[in-house]
């Protein structure tokens, strides 16, 4: 906590106090900021509990260390289900690792971000310039369904594992608060960020200029790009996303566009279709969505984990199928469908787990 004094303000407050003591008037009205003492001081323990941010200069970084191999163990248990064994998975999130080279590490700029690159993704390791960013984010927001549950050393370990996958550190590395500044000097895109102040300051000037031409302006008026046919109803029937009254309706995008000029066909039928709520309700499919189960499990097919029908097929006829599945949902498991384990899902209540289990047992439809 900083200590400093503000002579001018303190003086003003003293003066005010003296003045009103003399005048014996309605001091409550005259005090400049009578709300000044609302709230209370934070205790050191409270600040410690919440002040978890880590800056690029490593202010805020707690002491600790973690090896690549320890990090790998944590990774396989808690991270691989979404990010893939090697941080390369594009199934649930954009890949973390990939697209960087030894030459990038030397130069501090990632070649695959330059024009002409055919690398299909912009991975985290391609973009991130500051290693502190990764430490801070893993610590505050991961794992996805149980943020802030990794120990300090586990955060070091998981970060060391990611960095080793990108060849920033060797496979036997132990990352710690003591050597993280050295690691920063090997971040592949450490020289890849620029700061353009006018887009940060409200008072700045824009970097792209247009002029407000009003008449016979130089344009081509040619349609350079238009909505591809497949995109016409990719967002559902637009007719059902527009009001049923007014001068303009939604187009029925389940049908091809009308071929006749406007006004020659009868006006479209108007339909009110209430959209089904995306979540809420205790039915199984809503639970699958709200708990992100469908990020890893398809209904019929494997995404990261097995499809729900594949689970049913494997265990068909099991007498205690529902309780078995409740246990698997809540506690996780591994080795039955492949190497990637399913992490425990402690946020799912027993009742909700049962709803899902019964839905799977009942055919997963």
């Amino acid at each position: 906590m900083m200590t400093m004094t503000y002579p001018r303000r303190t003086l003003a407050r003293l003066c005010a106090a003296t003045l009103f003591a003399l005048a014996a008037g309605p001091a409550a009205w005259a005090q400049a900021t009578p709300w000044h003492d609302i709230g209370r001081d934070a205790t050191p323990a409270e600040v410690k509990a919440w002040d978890i941010d880590v800056r690029p200069d490593f202010k805020g970084l707690p002491k600790g260390s973690g090896s690549v191999s320890m990090g790998e163990e944590v990774w396989i248990g808690k991270c691989a289900a979404c990010h893939g064994d090697f941080g390369e998975s594009n199934e649930v999130f954009t890949p973390i690792v990939g697209g960087t080279t030894q030459a990038d590490i030397e130069r501090g700029r990632v070649k695959n971000l330059e024009l002409g690159s055919t690398f299909p993704q912009k991975t985290t390791m391609m973009k991130v310039a500051t290693v502190s960013t990764l430490w801070d984010y893993i610590n505050r927001a991961m794992p996805w369904n149980a943020p802030k549950t990794l120990s300090t050393d586990e955060v070091y370990g998981v970060l060391a594992y990611i960095l080793s996958l990108a060849d920033v550190v060797p496979p036997d590395y132990v990352l710690s608060d003591q050597n993280i500044a050295e690691v920063q000097k090997r971040m592949p895109n450490r020289n890849g960020m620029v700061f353009h102040e006018p887009l940060w300051k409200v008072s700045g000037k824009g970097d792209v200029k247009n002029v407000a031409c009003m008449k016979d302006c130089p344009v081509d008026s040619k349609v350079r790009s238009s909505l591809p046919d497949f995109a016409r109803d990719a967002h559902g029937n637009i007719q059902e996303q527009n009001r049923v009254i007014g001068p303009i309706r939604g187009a029925d995008t389940t049908q091809p566009p009308p071929s006749a000029p406007v006004g020659s066909a009868p006006p479209p039928k108007v339909t009110v279709v209430a959209a089904a709520p995306a979540g809420g309700g205790a039915d199984a499919k809503a639970l699958l969505g709200s708990n992100a189960c469908t990020a890893c499990h398809g209904i019929n097919s494997k995404i990261v984990g097995p499809g729900f029908n594949e689970v049913l097929a494997k265990h068909q006829g099991k007498a205690d199928l529902v309780p078995y599945l409740v246990g698997k949902i809540q506690s996780g498991g591994s080795g039955i469908y492949g190497a990637v384990p399913m992490p425990p899902q402690p946020q799912i209540s027993e009742a909700d787990a049962r709803t899902i289990a019964e839905w799977i047992a009942g055919g997963a439809k």
Binding site: M4, D41, A42, P56, F195, V219, R243, V272
Partner: protein, 449 residues
């Protein structure tokens, strides 16, 4: 008074139940139950109804049935007060909903739903239609257990309850909030069918709260050394964003109110930061902490996302200002003009740098422009509604709007944006939007420049 009261319901009688016998009361109750049952049954199914544009009546036609034959709502008794203690929109309006863009994201907790701009009026977004962007799912937090901490380069590090905050002097101001990724999929080619998906990550509300400057003054922030503040959320993502101290001391609001009620849970109940003019990700929801510091934090959403990929392979970091932008909301993509003739072309304009000074509209793909009417109020860093008359001759037309803000900045064309920033960026796409009205009356999304 009639002995048989079964048909009394529906007529106006002064406080009848006070004057009725027990037997008569029971009769009245039975009649009401029948009536309510019928009303509910009618309300249950909302199916299709015929289109209802005004058409000339055929010669000799006596008139329309909806006028000549009185409808039930003119001849029956309506529903009681507080039937729905928290009112909802008409069932006829249920097409206008927040919607997701299929395939845009893979996890529903880190996703987006878009505001149906195509059907909204004026400048205020109904709270239930305010766009959503969550980074790790939303919560409905018990406000009695929510705290705001201010720490770092301050004389006294403080904790505030909601009781404390709501006791402080407050302001109510109307501001737009736009996601930095609004219109993102169209840096390259056209990809989206309607304005809900091209521009629906912008909303505008009246926010109520205490100015952040008031809180920072109360804590005695270090006026010499403080250069930035960090805002942090209480949810799983604990979203963190760096804000310039000038910005923090200017018009940022630590807000609990939105459009006259408390914030909706999806929008950060009970407390969020309002950073006028700056992209929505900085408007940290479930705000739990403000730290005063002297360096930027390069948090995940300042170092991996919300950065602008430039043609030379660098990324611009900390480009938070939402520059001047506008879009015609009606007619817009996916809509259908029912006939030739007069239309009121309407849309929205906004700027993160100040007020909207002017909006011009073209119906010939940007060759000729006319200045639209701005509807009041025209407020700084708020959505501004514009309208302009148009008589459509039935020929193909390309509609565009172009906003100019109080700094004189003119909303750019997409090719002008690309000339500076390339096509591989995601964020801060504020180009002029083109809508093609085809001869069949259908409006579609195109690029013309």
């Amino acid at each position: 008074m009639s002995k048989d009261l079964s048909d009394v319901i529906g007529r106006v009688l002064p406080a009848p139940e006070n004057h009725l016998s027990a037997e008569q009361l029971e009769q009245a109750r039975k009649a009401r139950r029948r009536f309510m049952g019928k009303a509910l049954a009618m309300g249950a199914g909302v199916a299709a109804s015929a289109a209802a544009t005004t058409r000339a009546l055929a010669a000799g036609d006596e008139g329309e049935d909806v006028i000549l034959r009185l409808p039930e709502h003119s001849t029956g008794l309506g529903q009681a007060v507080a039937t729905d203690p928290y009112g909802k929109p008409s069932k006829w309006e249920s097409n206008l909903q927040r919607r997701q863009s299929p395939g845009l994201t893979r996890v529903p907790q880190a996703s987006v739903s878009f505001t149906p701009l195509q059907g909204l009026f004026g400048i205020i977004t109904p709270s239930g239609l305010h766009f959503e962007r969550h980074h790790q799912g939303w919560w409905d937090i018990d406000p009695s257990k929510h705290r705001l901490m201010i720490n770092g380069m301050v004389q006294r590090e403080r904790v505030f309850t909601m009781d404390d905050l709501m006791r402080l002097p407050s302001v109510s101001r109307i501001h737009f909030i736009e996601c930095g990724a609004n219109s993102a999929p169209e840096w390259g080619n056209v990809a989206l069918p309607s304005v809900q998906y091209t521009h629906g990550m912008v909303s505008c509300s009246e926010f109520t709260g205490v100015l952040l400057s008031t809180l920072l003054e109360m804590c005695g922030y270090d006026k010499k050394k403080a250069r930035y503040v960090l805002a942090e959320g209480a949810d799983g993502s604990s979203m963190t964003r760096t804000i310039d101290i000038e910005r923090a001391m200017d018009d940022c609001i630590v807000a609990w109110g939105m459009n006259g009620e408390m914030l909706r849970p999806e929008n950060g109940y009970p407390l969020r930061l309002v950073v006028p003019g700056v992209q929505g990700v900085s408007w940290v929801k479930y705000l739990r902490r403000i730290e005063v510091g002297d360096q930027k934090w390069a948090t995940k959403d300042e170092a991996v996302h919300y950065i602008d990929h430039m043609p030379d392979g660098t990324h611009r970091q900390y480009t938070g200002i939402q520059e001047c932008k506008s879009v015609i909301t009606t007619p817009s993509g996916g809509q259908m003009l029912l006939d030739k003739g007069y239309y009121n072309v309407t849309g929205l304009a906004w700027s993160g740098r100040g007020t909207i000074k002017r909006v011009d509209v073209s119906v010939d793909g940007g060759r000729n422009w006319r200045t639209a009417r701005l509807e009041g109020p025209v407020l700084p860093k708020a959505l501004t509604r514009f309208n302009i008359d148009w008589v459509w001759d039935g020929k193909p037309a390309v509609l565009q709007s172009r906003a100019i803000d109080s700094t004189g900045y003119v909303q750019p064309k997409i090719n002008q944006l690309r000339a500076v920033r390339g096509t591989r960026s995601i964020y801060h796409q504020n180009a002029i939007q083109s809508w093609l009205v085809s001869e069949n009356g259908e409006v579609s999304n195109v690029q013309v420049y």
